[in-house]
């Protein structure tokens, strides 16, 4: 009987002392975390894509609270999330527009033929390293789908040996743009409708041999576009996405047929 009482007392005593120590430790050594970080994390999409340039959603949430980083950097979240973040933080909503990826090449199987048989690894980087790629055009989409494999939401389809972005699915995270060995993918505001779907810097005759829908560098569009919204980069017309451009007649005037108008997605 005695033994049982002593055992209970000793073990109970040890438990009590340890409990008090733990309680004290929890009090003194606690890491002070802002409870708002967790709340922000609930708002963010938790895709951890890294397009905000932080290591993930948690890192971005912390940066908003601690460093006061802007709340409009989450591209996948878009304006909705930005609105909720702004409401939570009590700041004014900065301009936030939805962004999507675009592949600046229109040369599919029929329009931009290949010049050799490639039967190595089906990956654009690998194919590009073998004799500079198997397409005649040295700038065009190789169509081996490296971009579609890195896309976290499956928004890129390889159709007829050409990568095509499904804009309704795209979250604009930019992983595809980093992967493309030919640098054809740009992240642009989703509301933009007029694009030059070519990245070839070659001279006109070279482009014509390589592709039926290539930019030949005639510079007609750059003259028609208001406010220098299309600029010539050597023999290539590039849309300046910081400037407005709604000039639809450009599409008809382009002799290379590489300027297109896409639907407005908002």
């Amino acid at each position: 009987m005695n033994i049982i009482v002593i055992t209970l007392l000793v073990i109970g005593g040890i438990g009590l002392v340890c409990g008090i120590l733990l309680a004290l430790a929890a009090n003194f050594l606690a890491i002070k975390e802002d409870p708002r970080v967790e709340k922000l994390l609930e708002i963010l999409p938790n895709a951890n894509c890294g397009s905000c340039s932080f290591a993930g959603c948690a890192d971005y949430a912390k940066a908003i609270i601690v460093d006061g980083v802007a709340i409009n950097m989450c591209t996948p979240g878009g304006p909705d999330i930005a609105k909720r973040l702004a409401a939570f933080m009590g700041v004014e909503l900065q301009a936030m527009e939805r962004k999507v990826a675009i592949i600046l090449c229109g040369g599919d199987k029929e329009k931009a033929p290949r010049r050799s048989t490639y039967n190595g690894i089906a990956d654009c980087t690998a194919a590009n390293a073998v004799d500079g790629g198997d397409k005649i055009c040295r700038y065009g989409c190789l169509g081996y789908g490296s971009c579609s494999r890195v896309c976290p939401v499956g928004a890129i389809e390889i159709s007829n040996d050409l990568a095509v972005v499904h804009e309704d699915l795209c979250i604009g995270c930019g992983l595809c743009a980093k992967t493309c060995p030919r640098g054809l993918i740009k992240i642009i505001p989703a509301k933009r409708t007029i694009h030059v779907l070519c990245s070839s810097k070659d001279k006109g005759p070279v482009v014509k041999k390589a592709c039926k829908v290539g930019c030949i560098g005639c510079s007609i569009c750059s003259k028609l576009a208001p406010n220098e919204a299309i600029k010539m980069d050597g023999f290539l017309a590039r849309v300046d996405y910081t400037k407005d451009l709604e000039n639809i007649e450009l599409v008809e005037k382009c002799p290379g047929k590489c300027i297109i108008k896409k639907h407005d997605l908002k």
Binding site: R115, S116, T117, N119, G120, I121, D123, T125, A126, A129, V130, D131, G132, G133, D134, R138, R149
Partner: protein
């Protein structure tokens, strides 16, 4: 002088069919000047050279046309006298794009006298010799094209005691180095002595595979009564005994550490062609403007060893060799094991083009790659003791971190694994891609580290 068999056995290796009989008995033929020469500004490993001429300029043979743009870079010289027709960006045999100087020969082939010949090199300061080699734009002529003046100026903490003159030529089909050893043994030997003087190395080793007995006796004759510091080492005929690090092990028993260079173990390896070019630069004052290349393959009418100018288009070389009978299924710049497949004959001869190989349809099969069956043949064949089977699966899954931990960066891309693979997996291509991705990652990390240190 001693002649003996190599003492150490390298790991792995394969025995492909050699087919050297197509050109081994054909003496080096000097090719007449083609109508146009396209000289790439990237003839070598390292930074591209910068063209210094304009359209319409007149040039003399050996005149500087592209200046070296860094330490690991080499000067480029006009291969003949003539007029600069055009300067534009074109695709090289390696598939990269570089500035190309197009020269129309005037037929005079007149040399410039920009470099002074050094006839008494034995009593000349090493630095002067080194400058002459750098000014002549000499690069390794075996394949990789490492600028020679960089190889010959090791940092002060790394003494070189042995130089190896590489005449192994283990690539099937190629016989350019073999013919050089038969026809220019004395000049190669003089080049070897120049290299050894520059480096202050006491031992000279000349490495030749045992399927070239005539080359061995030609070199023995040229060396004559040299002292015991000179050895001719006979390597077994096995691919890849011509690979730098494998050759060093076979001859000296020293292993170049992972990520290291031969100079880390006190050795410098130079190809026989490079030794000859170095001798030509020092003794004759001639920059590197031509090289011997083996144009071979069954569909060719007359396979030949050709002395061609840098910048000669492949199409002209093939025409010089009688053209192609029937259909060529594949054209490779270099040998069949490490060469690069070409999609056209527009590429031109560079300082590193050791051969042009034309393969007939029956020698080329388009296999479909199958999953790895873990048979381990690639592991047995790998000369650097890697596990290509595992690595290829990691790289297929794009797990570059794992591949890096399994030392993908040590791969020498010799092709032994892909040669053995019964599932026909494109192992070398996986390795190349993995190496490219991992080295990009390493550069990124280094930049980050440098940024942190600045802060």
């Amino acid at each position: 002088m001693k002649t003996y068999k190599a003492q150490y056995k390298i790991a792995g290796g394969v025995h492909p069919e050699y087919h050297k009989e197509l050109t081994r008995d054909k003496g080096i033929e000097i090719m007449p000047l083609p109508p146009l020469l396209h000289v790439y500004m990237s003839q070598h490993l390292g930074a591209h050279a910068k063209p210094i001429l304009k359209k319409g300029d007149k040039v003399l043979r050996g005149q500087l046309i592209g200046e070296s743009t860094g330490f690991v870079s080499a000067a480029v010289h006009a291969p003949t006298s003539g007029t600069v027709k055009n300067i534009e960006e074109t695709r090289t045999a390696a598939g990269t794009f570089t500035q190309t100087v197009e020269i129309e020969p005037d037929g005079q082939d007149q040399w410039t006298s920009s470099l002074t010949p050094i006839s008494n090199w034995e009593s000349t300061d090493s630095k002067v010799l080194l400058n002459a080699i750098a000014a002549a734009g000499i690069t390794g002529m075996g394949g990789a094209g490492f600028p020679s003046h960089v190889k010959l100026s090791p940092p002060s903490g790394k003494p070189i005691d042995t130089i190896i003159i590489n005449g192994a030529e283990c690539e099937p089909f190629l016989t350019a180095d073999y013919r050089l050893m038969l026809e220019h043994a004395a000049e190669i030997w003089e080049g070897a002595r120049i290299i050894s003087k520059i480096l202050g190395a006491k031992n000279i080793r000349i490495a030749i595979e045992d399927n070239k007995p005539e080359a061995i006796s030609a070199m023995e004759k040229a060396i004559g009564t040299a002292d015991d510091s000179v050895h001719i080492v006979i390597l077994p005929t096995e691919y890849p005994h011509g690979a730098e690090k494998q050759q060093i092990f076979a001859i000296t028993g020293r292993q170049v550490p992972s990520g290291g260079l031969p100079m880390d173990v006190g050795v410098v390896v130079q190809n026989v062609g490079t030794a000859l070019a170095i001798r030509d630069a020092v003794v004759n004052g001639h920059p590197l403007t031509e090289r011997v290349t083996t144009v071979t393959g069954l569909p060719l009418a007359q396979p030949k060893n050709v002395m061609a100018r840098i910048g000669t288009p492949y199409s002209d070389l093939i025409k010089f060799c009688g053209g192609i009978n029937g259909v060529a299924a594949k054209i490779i710049s270099g040998g069949p094991m490490m060469g690069l497949a070409q999609s056209s004959l527009d590429a031109t001869i560079t300082k590193t083009t050791s051969g042009i190989l034309v393969l007939p349809a029956k020698a080329v099969t388009f296999y479909e790659a199958m999953p790895c069956i873990s048979c381990g043949r690639c592991v047995e064949a790998c000369p650097v003791n890697l596990m290509p089977c595992d690595l290829s699966q990691m790289l297929e899954a794009e797990d570059y971190e794992a591949a890096r931990d399994c030392n993908v960066m040590d791969c020498v891309e010799c092709g032994c694994c892909a040669y053995e693979c019964p599932a026909h997996r494109p192992l070398v291509q996986y390795m190349r891609q993995g190496k490219a991705r991992v080295s990009a990652k390493i550069l990124e990390e280094k930049a980050k580290q440098a940024g942190k240190e600045k802060k």
